[in-house]
Amino acid sequence: MALAADAVTLEVKGLGLARGSRCLFADLDFSLVSGHALILRGPNGVGKTSLLRVLAGLTIADSGSVVLQAARVRAFAPHVRDNVLYIGHANALKDDLTVQENLADQLALDTNDVTLADQLGALDAVHLGDRRDMLARRLSQGQKRRVGLARLRLNCGLAHKSMWLLDEPTNALDEQGSALFVETVNRHLSMGGAAVIASHLPLGLSGPVAELQMQERA
């Protein structure tokens, strides 16, 4: 089943969240059409990560609603787990497993259908092919990020999760890595997926992109 083009896939209404006594955002409204990307911008601590976590259903908002593909996002609801791929600051890599084992474990949570050849192909594509039997603890920050990138690339082909929520995905990636990332997101968007990406850097996505500038609140 292909996702319908130009269908509203994410709709946020009156969203508000406070952390402690500080209000991160309030009355936030936006919507996202499939095939589009939304870039979250704003200074550190403004609540970009928190917003992504609310969209993923990991954090419960104080007010407002998030509707993903016509169903309201509730924490850990099956339709959220089927549709959302969230990659946060942490790379979710196990130091004691090899690169390929880490990738296989992450993919096992998304789909049964990934073959070893698929995995090796994706690792080659992100230039980790010769590191596949290396323990993850020996990888540099950028290489760790690339494992997540390999997962994203495979996600495009298999068990496609339609909503990607990415937190500073190009952090620690070099130019070539960032270009690979942009190419991957473009492919995801062209296949009818959507993405919300928190990023400080200009990404240069080719698809339709909206920006949400988040403001520091008193």
């Binding site: 089943m1 292909a2 996702l3 993923a56 259903g57 990991l58 954090t59 419960i60 924490a75 850990f76 099956p78 959220v80 787990r81 089927d82 959302v84 791929l85 969230y86 946060g88 600051h89 942490a90 790379n91 979710a92 890599l93 196990k94 004691d96 497993l97 084992e101 474990d105 992450q106 096992a108 949570l109 998304d110 789909t111 049964n112 259908d113 495009c156 082909g157 298999l158 068990a159 496609h160 339609s162 492919r187 296949m191 009818g192 997926g193």
Partner: protein
């Protein structure tokens, strides 16, 4: 790559989710053997301290043996509880598990099984060797092993709930002990009770049956409770 987006949900059976989580944790446990050995070494050393401290009076040693073995097993299990969720919480894996296509209780069940296989089972296997130090005999040793086989999974399951609740809390390990140890009391009573019953020649099935009953209830309830606790910790 096809342009079609398949929904590969047909194979997300709960058994598969249990297997995915269990395989992952078992592989990690095997990779860090030192951590595995620590709990077992703790158990062996602490149990061995008692004959040294109490002295060679065999009647007294035999009298306290079931209690000593059980309390030490309980503490050894408790020391390993952070392993279930702590590193997954810190490196972001727990978020990924929570957002995977498998329900979180299923994954928690897999993690509990992996934890039991790597702590409870080795403890139960080692216990008879330690029991010999206390002058216990064949049948009494067997009852201790049977009790530990039935009881240690309950310790793991209750402990997983506590471990999940204290994720991200400063000084969490003490707090976890305070949460979990009171819950361990029934297991301790019936486990050590079975061993004592075997020593005085009373039927042990009542105690073991109660342990088995707790185990069955725990298998149904605790994965959901642990998943709810993880949910709270991730918020």
């Amino acid at each position: 790559m096809s342009a079609v987006l398949p929904r590969a949900n047909e194979l997300t059976t709960p058994e598969r989710g249990v297997w995915v989580a269990m395989r992952r944790d078992l592989r990690l446990a095997v990779r860090s053997k030192g951590e595995l050995a620590q709990a077992l070494a703790f158990f062996v050393i602490v149990v061995s301290l008692f004959p040294l401290a109490i002295g060679p009076e065999s009647a007294l040693l035999k009298r306290v043996a079931p209690g000593v073995v059980w309390v030490c097993a309980l503490l050894a299990v408790m020391l390993t509880l952070p392993r279930i969720f702590q590193s997954d919480y810190l490196d972001g894996t727990l978020e990924q598990l929570a957002l995977s296509r498998y329900p979180l209780p299923v994954l928690c069940a897999g993690k509990m099984i992996a934890h039991w296989l790597t702590t409870g089972v080795p403890l139960a296997i080692t216990a008879p060797l330690l029991g010999l130090q206390f002058g216990l005999e064949g049948r009494e040793l067997m009852v201790i092993v049977a009790g530990l086989i039935l009881g240690t999974p309950i310790l793991t399951m209750l402990g997983a709930i506590g471990a999940a609740l204290v994720l991200g809390v400063r000084g969490g390990s003490i707090l976890m002990a305070l949460l979990v140890l009171p819950l361990y009391i029934p297991v301790l009573i019936f486990g050590a009770g079975a061993a004592e019953a075997s020593m005085v020649g009373v039927d042990v099935t009542a105690n073991l049956s109660l342990l088995a009953a707790m185990l069955l209830i725990g298998m149904v309830v605790t994965p959901f409770a642990a998943a709810a606790a993880v949910k709270i910790s991730l918020d």
